[in-house]
């Protein structure tokens, strides 16, 4: 038996080797050597941190318990690598061009650089990954126990201490090699190289054990196959839905796991490496899973009943006294666990530090911290503390959870949690309509459903109230965690995956459709979805001092003079240049571009700076990117257009109102001119003839009498005009008081006819019907009489025929009474009909002697009485219709 001390010594030696490898790689990279460090092979091997201790030990255990189900864990990533190669390339391209530091950063960058979203993903990742780290620590503890006799370890050291010391050691390693650089986006060559080495170690170890088992124990391939057939494994049947769910989960986790994102995207040197990894990584997976079934089958046959199948990889060589092989196997398992824990801790610490600690720290520091102060120091410190905290959490979880849970089930729970990121990630890469609110809703919903249906029942049995899992929430069985929506009988994992991801996706899409993305979201959306059309990552510019002035002018336009001056002056001071214009160093140009990008979009800023500094060589890609942004701007401008249309509508209304006022003012001028003319004309005659009478001697009596008559007539005309004007002004101003009374229409007409016809020399004949005129009225009878007099007088004046006749016909229907006045004259010319009711219209020329106010007054009166007067067309002669409310004059305006 290997002693505990020698085991610890081997572990320490192995870790020391890792330190050495990482250190050397780091030094080589720093000196610019070691191109092989950036080879596709190293990249592919680094991806193998997907295969953790869970894979190393647990695959065999899983095969022993559930047969071929373990294959799904390898199938998912293989399918992604082979089938979604272009998608991964897009992910890497986006990650590099956006300089993202973690998957939380990527999601945040896509959805308008939202820190809320980033911290959500971070919390999700920490909750999902902590059990997974605990799992690795547990596997190390178990492997220690398998090696060491209880008698050799009286203090129970292997059981209690190993996990703690391993955790501490890994934390130190991760801190030393994972937080050397401030820029989380820079490559950690040391870590990646160490991981690649570990990938080789675990593969070699598993293959060695496999070869030993097949050829050393089973006696060759044939017998081994026979053993598999003979064992229960061959007969195991996995349900189709569970098979599909786990394959999907492992595919999703392969993309979304923080540590996978770290090695696949953040640490990627060249996206072309994916081309190699696309076939090499599936090949690696195939090799590492090659001997899982034989080991499981032989283990089940040879090992005593009740022995842990998770440890067959160790116990088979041990029980056959192959200490060396067992040691190799132990190192392989150790490798699997350590590589996963190191990278996971690094990735998580970056997320925790960047999205939770730093925002809090900056908020506590106030405004000044972001521009001054030693932020760098704080970032590194917070990242180191985060690593320690995450390792601590993992250890605590391990210590609390104990060994009750099978390795594989913890892994799947973690996978399902991490997979909740998938809808937001894929949606963000392919759908420009995806919004921050959508991503937030999807993540939250999926996360909550996952916790309720999988995390709590699986690992937190003690936390859940007794009976909940059977009775369901609120006593509703369809809300029970295991059988959500009547899914009882379905595999809880399948049910949880379907419901959590289903609700997640639905919430994501629905909220995205319901909400409108902010400008930054839209811009980032375009950058993500169309990443291949956009620039190929940050490009540097170099320029001459002469161009700084142009840059300054451009910046002023975009940022405003104050901000632009401040920006340039700050840079000049930093460079130690006298004056306010700095050298256009590449660093400054990039900073300027970022600054401008905040205002006009990254692509536009890039094109603008390029136009000045890059000798006006704007690439087609740049122009396309600008056009793309312009398309988005167009969408905004269409909204602006709607607003501007509203403004111009208001302006038009104002213009119309103004026109109306101008018109009214012109009408008033014209009216005053008319009044003046109408008053001065009779006065002219009066004055002229009175002067003639006064100044002319020798006028005969006939002449005197004639001129006196003219003066008298004109004086009367003047009086009439003044009466009419006063009448009209009172009516128009609305100050007229109506004198309502009861009366018969026939009486009103009698009165009007006698007034209009008395004393006139006309021969107008009236045709009336006493029967029709028997209509009772309740109105201002005097005013109505005035209207009728006007109409009869007009007929008398203008109806120039031999036997002028005016037909008056009354009719009552409904609540209205109409009285038509139709003569047999020539009527009013069509072009004048619209004018007859206007003041001074005087269609009939001067002969009537009126000023043309009569019909205008009639119209005013009828409107006051709640009725109207209209010209009737096509009646032969001139025809007017007077209408007014019958009997009770409720419609009359009592003003």
């Amino acid at each position: 038996m290997t002693s505990l001390n020698s085991l610890i010594l081997v572990c320490l030696a192995y870790v020391a080797l890792l330190f050495l490898v990482a250190f050397v790689a780091e030094r080589l990279a720093a000196r610019g050597y070691g191109g092989w460090l950036r080879s596709p092979l190293v990249y592919t091997l680094s991806l193998s941190i997907y295969c953790t201790a869970w894979t190393f030990y647990g695959a065999v255990g899983s095969a022993a318990r559930n047969g071929l189900e373990f294959v799904t864990i390898y199938l998912g990533p293989t399918l992604v690598m082979l089938g979604w190669w272009m998608g991964l390339r897009k992910l890497v391209r986006v990650g590099r061009s956006q300089r993202v530091s973690s998957i939380a950063d990527l999601i945040s960058a896509r959805y308008g650089k939202s820190n809320l979203l980033a911290s959500c993903v971070t919390v999700l990742a920490v909750i999902g990954v902590t059990p997974y780290i605990a799992l690795q620590l547990q596997s190390i503890t178990l492997s220690f126990q398998a090696f060491v006799d209880a008698s050799d370890d009286p203090m129970g050291y292997a059981e209690t201490g190993s996990a703690l010391w391993v955790a501490v050691g890994l934390a130190v390693f991760a801190i030393l090699f994972g937080t050397r650089n401030l820029d989380a986006n820079e490559r950690h060559h040391g870590v990646v190289t160490a991981i690649a080495l570990e990938a080789v170690v675990k593969l070699v170890a598993l293959l060695a054990v496999g070869i030993f088992v097949v050829w050393g124990l089973a006696g060759g391939i044939g017998p081994a196959m026979a053993q598999i057939d003979a064992s229960a494994i061959g007969a195991w049947q996995t349900e189709g839905s569970r098979w599909a769910a786990i394959t999907f989960l492992s595919a999703a986790a392969f993309v979304c796991l923080p540590r996978m994102f770290q090695v696949m995207v953040v640490e990627a040197d060249d996206e072309r490496h994916l081309r190699t990894a696309a076939w090499a990584f599936p090949a690696y997976l195939m090799l590492i899973s090659l001997f899982v079934l034989p080991i499981a089958a032989v283990g089940l046959t040879l090992m005593p009943a009740g022995s842990n199948p998770d440890l067959f990889v160790l116990t088979l060589p041990l029980s056959n006294d192959r200490e060396g092989l067992a040691m190799l196997s132990f190192i392989g398992g150790f490798s699997s666990a350590t590589s996963m824990v190191i990278v996971a801790a690094m990735a998580l610490s970056t997320m925790v530090s960047n999205h939770i600690v730093m925002p809090l720290w900056l908020a506590l520091q106030g405004d000044g911290a972001s521009v001054s102060g030693d932020v760098r120091h704080v970032v590194l410190l917070s990242r180191r503390i985060s690593i320690a905290a995450i390792m601590g959490l993992g250890y605590l979880y391990h210590a609390a959870a104990g060994e009750g849970v099978a390795l594989a089930s913890i892994g799947l729970v973690a996978f399902a949690g991490i997979a909740q990121i998938l809808p937001s990630l894929v949606g963000g890469l392919y759908w420009r309509g995806a919004t921050r609110a959508g991503a937030l809703a999807g993540l939250t919903v999926g996360f909550v459903v996952w916790i309720y249906t999988l995390l709590l029942p699986e690992i937190g049995g003690a936390i859940l109230p007794a009976g909940l899992s059977e009775a369901g929430l609120f006593g509703l069985s369809w809300l029970s965690p295991g059988g959500l929506f009547g899914g009882t009988g379905v595999d809880p994992l399948v049910s949880s995956v379907v419901w959590s991801l289903g609700f997640n996706t639905v919430a994501f899409i629905a909220m995205s459709l319901l909400t409108f993305p902010s400008p930054l979201e839209r811009l980032q959306g375009a950058q993500f979805v169309n990443v291949f059309e956009h620039s190929t990552g940050p490009r540097g510019w170099t320029g001459s001092i002469a161009q700084t002035e142009d840059l300054m002018i451009m910046s002023q336009r975009i940022l405003g003079p104050d901000q632009a001056h401040a920006l340039f002056a700050r840079e000049a001071m930093r460079q130690g240049v006298r004056g306010s214009l700095p050298e256009p160093s590449p660093a400054f140009l990039q900073a300027l571009e970022r600054e401008l990008g905040g205002s006009v979009g990254a692509a536009t800023a890039h094109a603008m700076v390029g136009q000045i500094v890059g000798g006006a060589s704007v690439s087609v890609q740049d122009l396309m990117a600008v056009a793309d942004e312009s398309a988005q701007l167009l969408e905004y401008s269409s909204q602006l257009e709607a607003k501007s249309a509203e403004l111009s509508r208001t302006a038009r209304q104002l213009r119309e109102a103004n026109d109306k006022l101008t018109q009214v003012s012109l009408q008033k001028d014209a009216f005053l001119g008319q009044v003046s003319h109408e008053l001065r004309t009779p006065m002219t005659s009066i004055r002229a003839f009175s002067e003639i009478l006064r100044d002319t001697t020798g006028l005969n009596d006939a002449e005197k009498s004639r001129y006196g008559a003219i003066i008298h007539g004109e004086a009367l005309r003047l009086t009439r005009l003044l009466d009419d004007l006063l009448d009209l002004s009172v009516l128009e101003s609305g100050q007229v008081s109506l004198n309502l009374g009861h009366g018969q229409l026939s009486d009103v007409l009698d009165q009007a006819a006698s007034t209009a016809l008395t004393g006139s020399d006309g021969n107008l004949r009236l045709r009336r019907s006493a029967e029709a005129e028997a209509i009772a009225l309740h109105t201002d009878l005097d005013r109505l009489t005035q209207v009728f007099i006007n109409l009869i007088s007009n007929a008398q004046k203008y109806c120039e025929v031999d036997r002028p006749t005016l037909t008056i016909s009354a009719r009552e229907f409904g609540s209205m009474v109409t009285i038509d006045f139709v003569d047999n004259g020539a009527g009013i010319p069509e072009e004048a009909q619209a004018m007859v009711f206007e003041k001074f219209a005087r269609v009939g020329g001067e002969k009537a002697g009126g000023a043309g106010l009569g019909l205008a007054i009639c119209r005013e009166i009828m409107q006051r009485l709640g009725g109207d007067i209209q010209y009737l067309r096509g009646q032969g002669g001139a025809a007017f219709r007077v209408s007014l409310p019958s009997r009770d004059a409720k419609g009359a305006r009592r003003t």
Binding site: G673, S676, T684, I692, G845
Partner: protein, 124 residues
């Protein structure tokens, strides 16, 4: 030889008063009441003096004056304009159109006679 005046005025009483005054002052007075045919009447008669009302049925006095000023035979015809509208804008317009004298109604008879004598001095 008696001097010849043409009066274009649509108000019969004013026409009668002016005819009375000018006849007694030794003028041959011809009258015309319609705006539309006024230019024809003036160019046919070619009077020594034209007295023109502004507000006429058909064509306004302003338009008639402009028309006459555009014709060689009447471009220097003395024109006395009478208006009852009495707005200063009318005086400006008339002067621009080439009026010789502009008077507002009601006028005093002596004023009219002075203006007429002034515009067409007696040959004696």
């Amino acid at each position: 030889m008696r001097r010849n005046v043409m009066l274009i005025e649509d108000e019969p009483n004013i026409t009668e008063a002016i005819r009375f005054l000018l006849t007694r002052d030794g003028w041959d007075v011809q009258t015309h009441a319609d705006g539309n045919s006024a230019v024809d009447a003036v160019t046919r008669v070619l009077p020594d003096l034209l007295i023109l009302d502004v507000m006429l049925p058909g064509k306004s006095g302003m338009d008639i004056l402009r028309d006459l000023r555009g014709r060689p035979e009447t471009e220097s015809l003395p024109v006395l304009m009478l208006t009852a509208r009495g707005q200063s804008r009318d005086r400006d317009m008339a002067e621009k159109a080439g009026v010789n004298r502009f008077m507002t109604k009601p006028f005093s008879n002596a004023e009219v006679l002075d203006a007429v004598r002034d515009l067409v001095p007696s040959p004696t």
